[in-house]
């Protein structure tokens, strides 16, 4: 079994898979797991880089098993020969040994994503991303360099102002959190150390949409926008970035047309794109026309024996009810009468809801209590008369169900749950071969071996700076302010992957409380 990647999905899988059943080999260019939700904190020194990194060998050693880890990048997946090709970028010292191939029976692809530049010219050359630990170190150095540069003799106020213009492209949670962190860093720490230039600092957030933090509740979006306004962070919504050169960033909106603004530093955080190795793999498995690798609900790559994909590098393509409507009808119509009874549906409803989670979501969205109500609502008379219904009525009743299919967000939470899920499937592979636990096969016979992956949303945070955080918890419960900040601290401390990083993160927070953030250009 070969695992590609040591991010949330890969690490969560590794921590849970039973390594005594499988010969596990891990290939990743990163020999550590990174607690990515704290990356924005690292950019300004609230938390130190190493405090959120845990060596993958440590994690595996705790399991008592020796797995093989190879620090290399997989650059080609060959599903036909069940083989991957890897390249080590540290191997400069021995001839031609940087390249090697690994055979697999099972391949777990958890390679993550790359930043999405939308092919905007100049972004790769001039902008910072916020995905890897090296990015945060570069950003931190860059912020300090902007300040030191603005303090050099002989600069006009105009030039100082340009050097101290920090631009964040993308109003998602990462971009907003970074903007908030940077504002705190400037106002709490740097203002005292650079009193001559502190008033020249400007932070701008550029967002193509109408609002920032659109994935959150409206109340949070509003609060965030108001808080940023009070803090003097310039939120430019409806602006699309056209190009970036080494001194200015050019953007346009319907109102202003094209404008160019000089900047000191740009951080690009507009979502994720697919890695080249995944794109190449997609071509081989007949997904060339898609933008993201699709898997089924069991995280399997279709038409590709033994290959699983999870985390940011793939999305689950939920089977549509309407595609299977005839089969579903057949399964529910046990006596082959051509009509369904309410009882007949009730017998298979659980299986249907598990196989097609959109059915349950649809029922919830329509505030229906049970499946029978669905029919009532759709064809009141037909059901009342006979308590039976034929396939045409059935189709009509479920016509809008598939609108409820939800794409899972590209978050750590999803990736971690997927890794955990897949590991558990592998662990009970043998048992489930004999005693399948999954729902009824709609288009086949018998049951699926495993339950399909189900995501449980535990809530999401949006730190907004000044010890204030917005939290959106399950059940649309929204909390904003200092109390959520403390919730944030405790959740993030408890979610740490080891006691070591927990100790480090907490002592970093304490250090920051007492002494502030470090401003050394390291």
């Amino acid at each position: 079994m070969v695992v590609l990647g040591t991010g949330w999905a890969g690490t969560s899988f590794l921590r849970n898979v039973d390594t005594s059943q499988y010969d596990v080999k891990v290939v990743s260019p990163r020999n550590y797991f990174l607690f990515t939700p704290l990356l924005p904190s690292v950019t300004c020194g609230t938390v130190e880089p190493r405090s959120i990194a845990e060596p993958i060998r440590n994690i595996m050693r705790k399991k008592g098993e020796q797995i093989q880890f190879w620090e290399a990048e997989c650059h080609k997946i060959d599903p036909v020969n069940k083989k991957i090709l890897c390249r080590s970028n540290i191997c400069t010292n021995s001839e031609g040994k940087g390249e090697f191939a690994v055979d697999y029976d099972y391949l777990v692809v958890a390679l993550g994503a790359k930043p999405n530049t939308f092919n905007t010219p100049g972004v790769v050359e001039n902008c910072h991303f916020l995905k890897e630990i090296e990015d945060t170190q570069r950003i931190r150095r860059s912020v300090m360099n902007c300040f030191e540069r603005a303090c050099l003799p002989g600069l006009s106020d105009e030039e100082k102002r340009n050097n101290l213009h920090f631009v964040i492209v993308g109003g998602g949670p990462t971009g907003v959190e970074f903007a908030a962190e940077l504002h705190d860093f400037v106002s709490e720490d740097l203002a005292n150390l650079y009193p001559t230039v502190k008033d020249l600092v400007k932070i701008s957030v550029i967002e193509a949409g109408v609002h920032i933090l659109t994935m959150f509740d409206k109340r949070i979006t509003e609060f965030a926008e108001q808080k940023f306004q009070r803090d003097g962070i310039d939120v430019k919504t409806n602006f699309r970035v056209i190009k970036v050169n080494d001194k200015t960033i050019t953007m346009s909106s319907g109102l202003t047309g094209e404008i160019s603004v000089p900047y000191g530093m740009v951080v690009w955080s507009t979502g994720i794109g697919t890695r080249p190795v995944i794109l190449d793999f997609m071509k081989q498995v007949g997904q060339a026309d898609r933008r993201v690798l699709a898997t089924d609900e069991w995280l399997r790559v279709p038409n590709c024996d033994g290959v699983y994909a999870l985390g940011d590098c793939a999305t689950i393509s939920q089977r549509k009810v309407m595609e299977d409507i005839a089969a579903i009808f057949r399964v529910a119509d046990k006596d082959n009468s051509g009509t369904l009874t309410v009882k007949g549906i009730k017998d298979v409803l659980e299986d249907i809801c598990e196989r097609y989670p959109q059915v349950e979501l649809y029922m919830k969205s329509q505030q229906l209590e049970n499946f029978a109500d669905l029919f009532k609502d759709a064809s009141d008379d037909a059901l009342k008369e006979s308590k039976k219904l034929d396939i045409e009525v059935f189709k009509k009743a479920l016509a809008n169900v598939d609108s409820q299919v939800k794409m899972l967000p590209a978050t750590a939470q999803v990736a971690a749950q997927q890794g955990n899920y897949l590991a558990k499937c592998f662990n009970k592979m043998k048992i489930c071969e004999e005693h399948p636990e999954g729902p009824l096969r709609i288009r086949g016979s018998g049951r699926h071996r495993f339950h399909p992956f189900g995501y449980r949303h535990l809530g999401q945070f949006a730190p907004l700076g000044g010890e204030q955080t917005a939290a959106q918890l399950p059940g649309d419960w929204v909390s904003i302010g200092h109390s959520s900040q403390w919730l944030w601290y405790s959740v993030y401390a408890s979610k740490q992957v080891s006691w070591r990083t927990r100790f480090l993160v907490v002592s970093d927070w304490i250090r920051r409380f007492i002494y502030g953030r470090d401003s050394s250009c390291i």
Copy 2:
């Protein structure tokens, strides 16, 4: 007043100088002070880089004064026009503003030194140095890369062994401490994480002299060599490195001739050399034939009004007694009789000893109690007869005095004391103008304004790994073992420049005790 450099000398000067009397400007490419004695600890993650760095602006803010700091490198000192030329290497963003000139009345040169490669080919390209924080980060990454590389598939044992051969060139305190740290890192932390390759690790220390740690007491040298032998660290004395290429290091000794050894990483730590900007300055002030910039005993650069040099970039050139012997005689012979009395000498002895510290050292080394004994010893009869002596006898008596002139070592301790001394001189400049406090001018009249710089040695540590440290304290008191390690911890914690770094360093030590060192390739 312009201060160049933010190392031990520059920072110690800045912390002590009275900034209300002078308009102080600081130019340094590093906007932080680095606690360099802990650099070897940083290479292996015992202490984190930022824990030993304190922003220079923090240090100055604590004084309640706003000084101007410019992050730039001085590349030319022009003593004729009293001007320095600086270049900022962060200024890529505004046209031609990277270069600027600064006028000075007083110039404090504390630029430090660069690593000395003795022009050995390939050193700059292939070796790591151990002077800056970036060096330690590179070394740490390099150590981890060597291990990861050795774990890649398809490597022969021979190749693994080569990748895990760590070479340290130079058996001074830094090199030895690094070797000890690395050995601890490997045996305490990495052996558990890389069990398949742990036995292939080899650490070699290459020293051109007969022993390592030659500046220490023999007992320490012996203990260190024995401990390294027990630990399996290969100490190659009497070996001179001839060249280094990207895979092998070539060295020679009288016994073996030239041998080439493959390596995974080389750390070069063979002492210090003079920076180009200082060499250029030396040409301008008539010191072109010297290897190191010389100052007088008051840290002034001769023939160069208002320029002071201290720390590793300069050495104090102690005035020889024999050069001034006639003048000294004249000063002591108050009645111009052509002969000296014991009483006459006693009157000026204190001044002479202050001006020429070698006199006191010579007396100590000869176990003489007072100056009169010197004459007794040298010309027993002459003194006994007359209790008087003429210049010839005087010369003869002092003939060997100058052999006691000691060069100060290039240590943090010396630099810090020099910075402190010079700051105090500047602070009392006005008072001492009227009431000079220094010794009698031997070749002039009146007194020197200030006491010459006197170095007070407080002892030196040599950490040898495994929680054992050798300490050489004043009075030739030598202590080796675990107790010295605790002394080392407490001294280094107390010497921290701020409570913040003290907190960080101590929490790093605690973290290391509990959780070991981090092995992430960051």
